[in-house]
């Protein structure tokens, strides 16, 4: 398979180390050129995000030293960073790349950004010509696997952060959040974060009340909202559908009687209270009222952890799926290994055919165009008939252990020389990749270049 990966990620290296390896997008083309200039490296690609730097390569003869790239490009001695670096080769490298693209290797398993980041890295590498044939096939397959994982498992379907769970719950109550008013009680960071999430999902007006009025004004300005003096809290809260509270108050700010009053004023339209303060700002008894829903930080956390549990279970299924896909990809690639032999076999027999026709031409005399065509058809037909069995045998053998034996045997039988093999390998590759690994990648290859 000849694939190699070296890199650092959030599991192997702390952020200080990852920073040293990160390559900004602008410098990526240069880095790629450097990578493909390493002896033995035929194709290469670099994925650099805040959580990982992955240097992926395919070697011509199964040998390449990606540490050399680390040495040359970063000017770092790889041995000094031994404990932070991970390395995979051959099948393990394919497996690793499939996992990364499917977001199984992410810090938050199932997060959707990584696939986009890998796609961007791939686009850059293609643009500079660092990705061509087999690596292209590998990446195309990796994207397909990622899509399959996403659609066939629920690994990315549930929210796993407190803020996004809050948004989900708000949607369960209000349907869409368009035009819903949000009231922030307290001007803390958590309030701000949750409000930002709600706004991103369509929430309308924002009110902010804080004991220090200036801070309320400052936060309200950020969201283009309205600051309310804390004394007016109880008169204004009922204007909001979603209330996020995170004050440092030692006892509850909102009690059941407040809730009853709000509901009366609001004609029983539901309200969603999110209490992220410790000690709590909202009396849990408020939740007993019809139409008022109170979630405190533990409730939200509980939903988050149940979702994380779900994702873990789904991730196990996804891992199985990825493992299957690695096997499938491997067997397809193995077929690729016999392609040069098939091509030289075809070339060899074609040369023989041409030579024989030329030799006989004198004896045949002048031929009419029809006769010329008949001779062509006859000779080509014989060759195709003869070649059919060896080619099928080669293709079948490619998937088995005995591939090399069969390849050698065919070469010996037809006296296919080694030089021929090397020559034709590169010529045959472009087509062969498309034909054997995936029609899709082939089509792209031909249409773009």
């Amino acid at each position: 398979m000849n694939f190699f990966v070296i890199g650092v990620n959030h599991k192997t290296a702390p952020v200080e180390v990852r920073e040293r390896f990160a390559i900004p997008e602008a410098k990526l083309p240069d880095a790629l050129r450097e990578l493909t200039s390493i002896p033995g490296v035929e194709e290469g690609m670099i994925v650099s995000t805040c959580n990982r730097v992955e240097i992926i390569a395919r070697a011509t003869n199964g040998k390449c030293d990606l540490r050399e790239f680390v040495r040359k490009y970063y000017g770092l001695e790889p041995n000094d960073f031994q404990k932070y670096l991970f390395e995979h080769r051959e099948k393990a490298a394919v497996h690793h790349l499939f996992r990364v693209a499917s977001s199984l290797d992410s810090m938050v398993v199932g997060e959707p950004q990584i696939l986009g980041q890998v796609k961007e890295a791939y686009a850059v590498a293609r643009a500079v010509g660092a990705v061509q044939s087999q690596l292209d096939a590998l990446l195309t397959r990796a994207f397909a696997v990622a899509k399959k994982v996403r659609s066939e498992t629920a690994v990315a379907s549930s929210s796993v952060s407190v803020a996004s769970v809050a948004v989900d719950l708000a949607k369960k109550i209000f349907g869409d959040l368009d035009g819903k008013a949000v009231y922030l009680v307290g001007a803390g960071k958590m309030c701000e974060l949750a409000a930002r999430h709600l706004l991103a999902h369509g929430a309308g007006k924002i009110y902010v009340a804080n004991r220090t009025f200036e801070r309320a004004v400052a936060l309200a300005r950020k969201f283009n909202g309205e600051a309310v003096p804390f004394e007016k809290l109880y008169e204004t809260v009922e204007k909001a559908d979603i209330i996020i509270s995170s004050t440092g108050a030692p006892h509850a700010i909102f009690r059941k009687e407040h809730g009853e009053h709000f509901l009366k004023v609001r004609k029983n339209r539901p309200m969603f209270f999110i209490d992220i303060a410790v000690p709590r700002d909202i009396d849990p008894k408020l939740n007993d009222l019809d139409g008022i829903f109170v979630y405190d930080i533990d409730d939200l956390q509980q939903v988050v952890s149940s979702h994380i549990g779900d994702r873990k279970r789904e991730a196990e299924r996804a891992e199985e799926l990825v493992a299957e896909e690695v096997e499938r990809f491997e067997s397809k690639l193995q077929t690729l290994n016999v392609v040069p032999t098939i091509v030289s076999l075809q070339e060899h027999l074609e040369t023989v055919r041409q030579a024989e026709i030329d030799r006989l031409r004198g004896r045949l005399g002048e031929l009419s165009p029809e006769q010329e065509m008949a001779v062509e058809a006859l000779t080509k037909g014989i060759i195709n008939k003869i070649m059919h069995t060896p080619i099928t045998t080669l293709k079948t053998a490619a998937r088995e252990q005995e591939a090399t034996t069969v390849v050698d045997l065919v070469r010996k039988l037809f006296n296919l020389r080694a030089e021929q093999k090397a020559e034709q390998k590169s010529a045959a590759k472009e087509d062969a990749v498309g034909a054997v690994v995936g029609e899709e990648s082939h089509r792209r290859n031909t249409s773009e270049g």
Binding site: L169, K171, K172, I173, F174, G175, K264, R266, K267, N268, R269, P270, N287, D290, G291, F293, Y295, D299, Q302, V303, S306
Partner: protein
């Protein structure tokens, strides 16, 4: 022919029934894509069946309980489909599909009743009365279903461990809107339907018609219906309280529906 169309409709409704049953065991996901189209197709056959019947045997046929049942199922389906198109909610189907199936099935296996010879059915107001009330009943039923769904969703939200069965339930405000709209929509039909009936009864039987049990139950149902609308409009009652009222109105409606047996006003067949 109408019977054949009705049978096909029943079979298609059975798909909806199966979907509803499987949903309760959390395994209905795979059917979700075909259940609504199947029921929709069933409704087309059903409509054809009822139309043929009305043309061939006159509207009087519709007055018999078996065809009223079947027409009712079709109307409930129509209201469901309207709400499905407007709000993209399928969860009322959990209740609506089985009901449609059983109403149609019951009407299909029912014995053909003896021909009616009551002079009352000759009034043109009678089919109007029946049609308006059927639509009113269908809307009331949908509204009742919505309040049940509202309670289920509210309970799942309050329990704080959102159960997977209810994760498919539509948002609270959406069910609420569905219920309220159905209620608003049905009220004029219900009201004018009752008025139409009263006019006929007044003319044929005299002022005492309202002492008839079916008439009394209908008036009671209409009263509760109005209270339901009023409380929703004036103080936004929803959730549990609205569901109690809706259940009450619905129960009254079912009793009124079933009261033909003890009603003299609605007995069209002279012994």
């Amino acid at each position: 022919m109408p019977i054949l169309w009705l049978r096909i409709a029943t079979i298609l409704y059975a798909v909806g029934l199966l979907y509803a049953l499987l949903l309760l065991t959390k395994r209905g996901e795979w059917l979700s894509k075909i259940a609504v189209p199947a029921v929709g197709l069933g409704m087309v056959f059903h409509f054809v069946s009822l139309t043929e019947l009305t043309i061939s045997e006159s509207y009087v046929e519709l007055l018999t309980i078996r065809h009223a049942e079947s027409a009712m199922a079709l109307l409930i389906g129509c209201v469901f489909m309207f709400l499905f198109v407007r709000y993209r909610v399928t969860s009322p189907g959990i209740f609506v599909f089985p009901l449609m199936f059983f109403l149609t099935f019951a009407s299909e296996i029912a014995q053909r009743p003896p021909a009616t010879n009551s002079p009352m059915v000759r009034s043109w107001l009678i089919p109007v009365h029946v049609a308006l009330l059927l639509i009113g009943y269908a809307a009331l039923f949908l509204s009742f279903i919505s309040s049940l769904l509202y309670i289920l969703q509210a309970r799942s939200l309050k329990s704080k461990t959102p159960a997977s069965l209810f994760s498919r339930l539509p948002a609270l405000e959406v069910v609420d809107q569905v219920g309220y709209k159905a209620l608003l929509f049905g009220f004029p039909f219900m009201t004018f339907g009752l008025i139409a009936g009263s006019v006929v009864a007044q003319a044929k039987i005299g002022a005492f018609y309202f002492l008839d049990p079916k008439v009394l139950l209908s008036i009671l149902m209409w009263g509760v219906y109005m209270v339901l609308l009023y409380t929703r409009w004036s103080s936004g009652w929803r959730g549990r309280r609205a569901a109690y009222l809706a259940t009450f109105a619905f129960a009254a409606a079912v009793c009124a529906w079933a009261a033909n047996a003890i009603s003299t006003v609605h007995r069209f067949i002279n012994p």
